[in-house]
């Protein structure tokens, strides 16, 4: 899976949890989930669980703590996939 494919797959997940007033076009690599995309911590957990299913990986509490931006998420996904 290329980086672009992972990014698109992640965006498909994120878009489910965006608040009504945030459009998917607002999502960029450097977007902060909570402060910029207005995703709350409860929804962020659901994003992580969906990411686990979609990429067949498992994230730990430390990964969750590091996952502030879309780029952080992509890095974590890439690392986990590489370690498989």
């Amino acid at each position: 899976m290329t980086k672009e494919e992972r990014y698109e797959k992640l965006k498909d997940i994120i878009k489910i949890y965006l608040p009504e007033d945030v459009n998917i076009t607002a999502v960029h690599e450097n977007s902060n989930f909570i402060t910029e995309l207005n995703i709350n911590s409860a929804s962020l957990v659901d994003i992580v669980l969906d990411v686990e299913d979609a990429f067949d990986i498992r994230l730990e509490n430390e990964d969750m703590d590091e996952m502030l931006t879309v780029k952080n998420a992509l890095d974590i996904i890439a690392t986990k996939l590489a370690a498989k």
């Binding site: 409860a42 957990v45 659901d46 992580v48 669980l49």
Partner: protein, 148 residues
């Protein structure tokens, strides 16, 4: 941690405590009961002519037994349990039967997941006859981490 100890950690008091007794709890779920006593303030206005327990209070009862009691059990061993912070993050309920003053209900909760401090449960409430009065999916965040 036993059932009585869990109740001591509950961060509620009258008039907003909706757990009388915990009937059972394990890693997979919790079960408890509560009697909606007839002197509760809400009955004077819900409704003006005939008292019926508001759905939000049925939901709250499901959440206190199904999410919070279970959450305390799942967090057993955490040293800051007395400083636990909680918040309901989502509720999706269906109400099937009215609950009248003095009715005792039983709530059965089954854990869907507890990950990254989020507890999501399938909850069901039954009346004294064993008939279902409401059911739904509730989720909340529970943390004992002081800086969050």
């Amino acid at each position: 941690m036993n059932k009585e100890q869990i109740l001591e950690f509950l961060p509620y008091a009258k008039p907003f405590l909706f757990v009388d007794e915990l009937l059972g709890v394990d890693d997979k779920g919790a079960e408890g009961r509560f009697t909606f006593y007839a002197t509760m303030d809400c009955y004077t206005g819900h409704f003006k002519e005939y008292p019926v327990t508001p759905g939000v209070l049925l939901t709250e009862c499901c959440a206190q037994i199904g999410l919070v009691c279970l959450g305390i059990y799942l967090l057993k061993g955490e040293k800051n349990l007395n400083k636990m912070k909680i918040g309901m993050s989502s509720s999706q309920m269906e109400f099937l039967k009215p609950v009248l003053p003095n009715e005792t209900v039983r709530v059965v909760s089954k854990k869907i997941y507890f990950r990254f401090q989020k507890l999501k449960c399938d909850v069901r409430m039954y009346d004294a006859k064993g008939e279902m009065v409401c059911k739904g999916i509730l989720a909340g965040m529970l943390t004992t981490n002081a800086d969050e």
